[in-house]
Amino acid sequence: MTRLRSSGGLLFFVILAALPSFNLAHWVLNMLIFTLMFAVMASAWNLVGGLAGYPSLGHAAFFGVGAYAEALWFGHHSVTSGWEPFLMLPAIGVLAALIGWPIGAVAMRTRTDVFAIVTITLLFVAQGFAFNLHSITGGAQGLAVPPGPWSAATYDRPFYYVLVALLGLAVGITAATLRSKIGLSLAAVRGDEDKARGIGVRTTGVKLLAFCVSVGLTAMVGGVWAYYEGFIYPQFAIDPLITIAIVLMTFLGGRATLWGPVLGAFILESAQQLLAYQLGGSQVYLIAYALVFLLIMLLLPRGILPTAQERLRHRRRRLDAAPGPAGTGSGGSAGGTSRSGSTNGVVASATGGAQA
């Protein structure tokens, strides 16, 4: 089953990598680039918001850190081959993770809703800096990043491929985390952090690690974005809407699952582009966006993948229970009825699926 899943994942990335060869229209590739950006960021957010259960609303600040780091560096250095700004990305990721460490160490002393408020404050503080540190950020006038030396017809492709690679990195990190004891520790933190602390789980360490990796990946996307746009302004580089979008995508697809955030990003980003296209340049599409959020909360509070997995599990259980009462075991003690071996297997794979 895991092999089936990982080969499915591989197929997804092969298709993604092959897409530009089909000479897609410019607007399609452009839309895919934004979808990929959000897919990476939603995946990254899921590490801390999903796996650790710390709903950060400040991730856009680190997106901005990445964007400004890229813009500042290439404001003073020239771009010749066009690939240098991408080669900077790992350094940007490490930089953001290092900035995130003390911030996370303080912010993660709070939990749930208080943590959300503390981190959204961070976002506005960062935006305040971007607007007001004129000598560094250029204030409201923004900063320019020199464009890459590619022809207009294929200009988007390098960005696209880099983002596919980043998505591979984010999904790979998530998969590795889920399979390791870090993932198990994070699940304990999410479930009952105080209890986890008392049974020797390194709660502070694992949640901080998740936070730093998460904001590092987010900053790398910010770097790609700044290079792609060519010009950055504070209100777009550090935008609360980015935070809201990635949280929404993760919730829609399914928190703490491997593919949920990616699925959410592909659904919502294409929906948003379509809505923005249909409803014009006004902000009306934001209302539609809010509507989507309400519908998710009403109909799928746990997200698409967990709900689907639950349904599948129940169906399999029913199917298993159908062919006669053979092997009902000796009847459990109070409450937990003992199950036949085959059902146990299904439950095991279903719980495994919850991590997928």
């Binding site: 390791s180 004891k181 009952d192 008392g198 390194r202 146990n344």
Partner: protein, 244 residues
């Protein structure tokens, strides 16, 4: 030989309330020591202080020959001091086996280097689950267990780290009589295997059957300790329970 756990003049106040007020007690290695007292006498607060969940205002705690005052709960756990909670705290969204494995007290090398549930983890967990007769539910989510089974699971899980001292906070509260017997059997078995217990419990027949010595707490301090028979005839204890 010095006692396994030694609490000296421990104090904790919440606002103006002296929850634990200069409490001293000792738990000898190899005993099943009971900690009893009327409601509000500070038993749970004392547990939280000893296990590092709360920080004391003053006083010392020594465990296994070293001063552990102010040490973090996780560090104490890894040093062999485990506890369970009154309300049976398990992780409902994890499987029963995972609930066992997560309590292994791992260092960073294992966290980063070994699988979520490695073969040796699973073998170790299965061994304990077998002992606690939870093997048939090993792959269910902990959320699907009955309350009594959760209590057993929580107890079994803290044994994953091979503790020397286990603090049980009301192990029989809210479970049926059969489960109380089961719990008692497991405590006895583990005691025979060399683990020392400190048990907070309200069920007096359970305490008198299982524990020796018994320490009595009232208004945040120790008022008596001794064998069950001594404590039962102590005037101060009768006073505390029945009022004068």
């Amino acid at each position: 030989m010095s006692p396994l756990l030694e609490v000296t003049e421990l104090t904790k106040t919440f606002g103006g309330v002296h929850a634990v007020d200069g409490c001293s007690l000792a738990v000898e290695a190899g005993t099943v020591t009971a900690l009893i007292g009327p409601n509000g006498s500070g038993k749970t607060t004392l547990f939280n202080l000893i296990t590092g969940y709360l920080r004391s205002d003053s006083g010392r705690v020594r465990f296994n020959g070293r001063d552990v005052t102010g040490l973090d709960a996780g560090a104490l756990y890894r040093h062999g001091l485990s506890r369970t909670f009154q309300q049976a705290r398990v992780f409902p969204q994890l499987s029963v086996a995972e609930n066992m494995v997560v309590a292994g007290g791992y260092g960073w090398r294992q966290l980063l280097g070994s699988r979520r549930v490695s073969r040796s983890d699973r073998a170790r967990a299965d061994e304990l689950l077998e002992e606690f007769r939870l093997s048939h539910v090993a792959d269910l989510l902990a959320a699907e267990l009955s309350y009594g089974q959760r209590k057993l699971l929580e107890f079994a899980a803290v044994l994953m780290s091979e503790p020397t001292l286990v603090l049980l906070d009301e192990p029989t509260a809210g479970v049926n009589p059969v489960m109380i017997e089961t719990m008692e059997r497991h405590i006895r078995a583990r005691h025979a295997a060399g683990i020392t217990f400190l048990v907070v419990e309200h069920d007096m027949t359970f305490v008198m059957r299982l524990c020796d010595p018994v320490i009595v707490l009232d208004q945040g301090r120790t008022i008596a300790s001794g064998t069950p028979a001594q404590v039962q005839s102590d005037a101060l204890v009768l006073d505390a329970y029945l009022g004068s």
